[in-house]
Amino acid sequence: MAKKFHVLASVLALSVSVTALSACGGNNNGGSAAPSGSASSSASASAGASTEKDTITMLLPPVSANYQSKFDQMAADFNALYPNLTLKIEPAGWEDITQKLDTQVNAGSPPDIAFIGSDGISKYMDQGMLMDITDSVTPEMLADYDEAPLNYMKRGDGLYGFPAYMSIQSIGGNKEMLEAAGVDWKNVQQNGWTFEEFRDAIKKGTVTEGGKTRYGFVFAVSGVTAKDYLNIMIKNAGMPAAFTQDLKFAYTSKNYLEVLKGIRQLIDDGSMPKELSSIDAGKRWNMFLTGQTMITGKGLATFENSAKQNNAKLEAKDASAVADSIPVEYVVLPMPTFAGQPPVSQAAVDGYVTFRGKKEPTPEHKANVVKAAYFMASGKVMAETNSELFVGQITKSAKEAAASLGGDRDPDNMAAVDVLQAHAAPARPDIPADLGAKVIKLEDEVIVPKFQALLAGETTPEEMYEAVKKAAIEEFGADGVVQD
């Protein structure tokens, strides 16, 4: 009996453990996997001008506060424009959209369109699940877009959707504190600053009173946000992308080490909290609104709006204002530059990415998907959404539609964002998908963990640099990395 029980226990233990992977066990070959529209439109006539009925499925997160509440209206407007086409929109939260999309992609039945960051394109392209829409896009559609954000949706010669906005990620300061620290913020907004100037400014902005410290600079770096901090910094040190133009891995450059040294210095100076490695996005924004830091990052254009809303609540003595917060005037600031390198802004381009299922999509369905993606990523829909987000319009049609929407943006901040946008890192569609996927894994498994250790004071910049270099050479070979 005991022997039988041993065997049974072992089998059960195996089963229990392996069942953890049950979700991976999708069937490659069976099942109907094409997007809903593919099948229905398979009998359609000519591409583009087809009047056959078709349904386009979308998976969309709450891009702006009121975005999801307008889905019915969007679907109705689209249907009025194309009576034979129906938009079927599945809403998702920011916290679960990736999981939902990944599950659908790996089951071979993704939606036709999903709203994701352009940095996710490599991952899905590597799976062979993206739909290249180059041959279905009309010249009029292409002409509507600013070139820089549109390029972010390209890989190689293919176009995999339309961008919605290009949001510049930088930092933001408290105007009153900046002035008290003697920072000529208007000059900085227009002309930038070097790392040394920045370091000096945040030192001056660090004040200790009654045992409590107000820091000069706090950046959210807990978990994966660490990647943002590092990437934003290194872009201004001569490494606008992970790969050089000749496709060599760039983060083995000596400038990378200089950035790491600089980042550690800011903590050692006492200008940033020693507990920085555990500060998440919510915490640092709370610290900014409660006057515990002069500058915060990463900063997005919409933060000006958030600060204004909180100021209004404070003025109205509304209890929903952030506890212990103070009135704050948010000032958009650029990142400092290292080692005499030109400023390069980190741009987050999100948009409507087009997917395919297991079945090859018909030309008619493809044309319909393009119509739907363009409808969502331009004109009135995008104008309203981007206005809510305080980000610039990137299509002519949205710019026209936004003209009547007005807005309450600070003119200095608007001018500062224009400068930052002018320095936005260019898209790199030439980086192959497999290299892009390798970099993501290298960042997650080596760079971010080592960077967390650096922030916690458990490793030195030199040790981290060597660890990254070693891992990069293992991954890309000695000839595949920059050795300066």
């Binding site: 233990a13 453990s17 392996v18 066990g25 490659n28």
Partner: protein
């Protein structure tokens, strides 16, 4: 086909048909008799097991030899296993998981046992109330619990745990942000939550011990600890072994705490093997490598379970 060959084939078919027909008749006899309902009930469980346990296991085994792609996978032999065994992060995650298991499982057993002993003498309604209180974290959302723990581990001086240690003159700690404290923080979280199931199982086992043993011991003048050591501990050995084995299996598969609290950081100090498998599968879409890693993990768990039964279960009667 040549005549003799055809005859042989036909003969073989007749023989095969005969075997099938006998087997069919045997099954038919069984399921048309009194046992029909029994087979029907077993079938439900069997189908569920086949669909949700056996099929995924077989599927994971196959995927572990493939480069998985939704549009068509390709067989790559033992490449995923080679990657797994050559990956320093995999071994680090195994090491982390073992440390976590060694620190959490025995302490959790002692705590559950202690709490069950404390609850045992209480009145029935009070026992039920305590059981409900201790079981509550089991039914509570892990995400909600993590939010509370993140609040407790706030790294700034205003954090709850930092304020507490501040009373003893200790500087505030970056609980989840340094390699020195991050694993301990996850272990502390495990120590202070989710013992409900073990407490209830221990309590049920304690209630199963006949009072005559305690009475006889009392007549012999045994102290509380003597009764505990000579009566309770031996009687609870099968329960302890069960909880020990299932606790270790569960601990080897730990994923949620590391995922929600630290994301595996800092410097992969809390990357457990379950989290690594999840990341490979659902973050990087490397399902083949993830399947290989999960099978290696399953093998490790099977070996550990076997050793537990061999050494700890020698004199346990079921």
């Amino acid at each position: 086909m040549a005549q003799p060959a055809r005859a042989a084939a036909e003969g073989s078919n007749i023989k095969r048909n005969g075997v099938w027909s006998k087997a069919f008749n045997a099954i038919a006899r069984k399921i048309t008799g009194d046992g029909a309902w029994a087979y029907a009930f077993i079938a439900v469980a069997l189908v569920v097991y086949a669909m949700f346990t056996a099929y995924p296991v077989v599927s994971a085994f196959i995927i572990s030899f493939q480069e998985y792609k939704p549009l068509g996978s390709s067989f790559i032999g033992l490449e995923n296993y080679k990657e797994t065994f050559g990956d320093s992060l995999f071994w680090k995650s195994i090491r982390n998981t073992i440390i976590y298991t060694v620190l959490t499982v025995p302490v959790a057993l002692v705590l559950s046992f202690g709490v069950a002993i404390l609850i045992l003498p209480l009145k029935k309604w009070l026992q039920t109330a305590f059981k409900a209180v201790y079981y509550l974290p089991v039914v509570a959302s892990g995400v909600a619990l993590s939010v509370v723990w993140l609040w407790i581990y706030d790294p700034l001086p205003a954090g709850i745990l930092n304020q507490f240690i501040g009373w003893f003159g200790i500087d505030n700690q970056n609980w989840l942000g340094t390699t020195k404290t991050s694993m301990f923080s996850l272990v502390l979280m495990a120590w202070l939550s989710s013992h409900g199931t073990s407490i209830i199982i221990y309590l049920a086992a304690l209630l199963g011990i006949d009072n005559s043993y305690y009475e006889a011991a009392e007549l012999d003048g045994a102290s509380f600890f003597q009764k505990l050591w000579h009566i309770v501990v031996p009687f609870l050995k099968p329960t302890t072994l069960f909880l020990f084995v299932t606790g270790i299996i569960g601990s080897f598969q730990v994923f949620q705490n590391a995922y929600l609290m630290t994301g595996g950081g800092p410097d992969n100090a809390t990357t457990m093997v379950g989290l690594l498998i999840f990341n490979n599968a659902f973050k990087y879409f490397e399902f083949g490598e993830a399947a290989a890693q999960s099978l290696v993990l399953a093998a490790i768990i099977a070996i550990v379970s076997f050793l537990q039964f061999k050494f700890a279960g020698k004199d346990v009667e079921y």
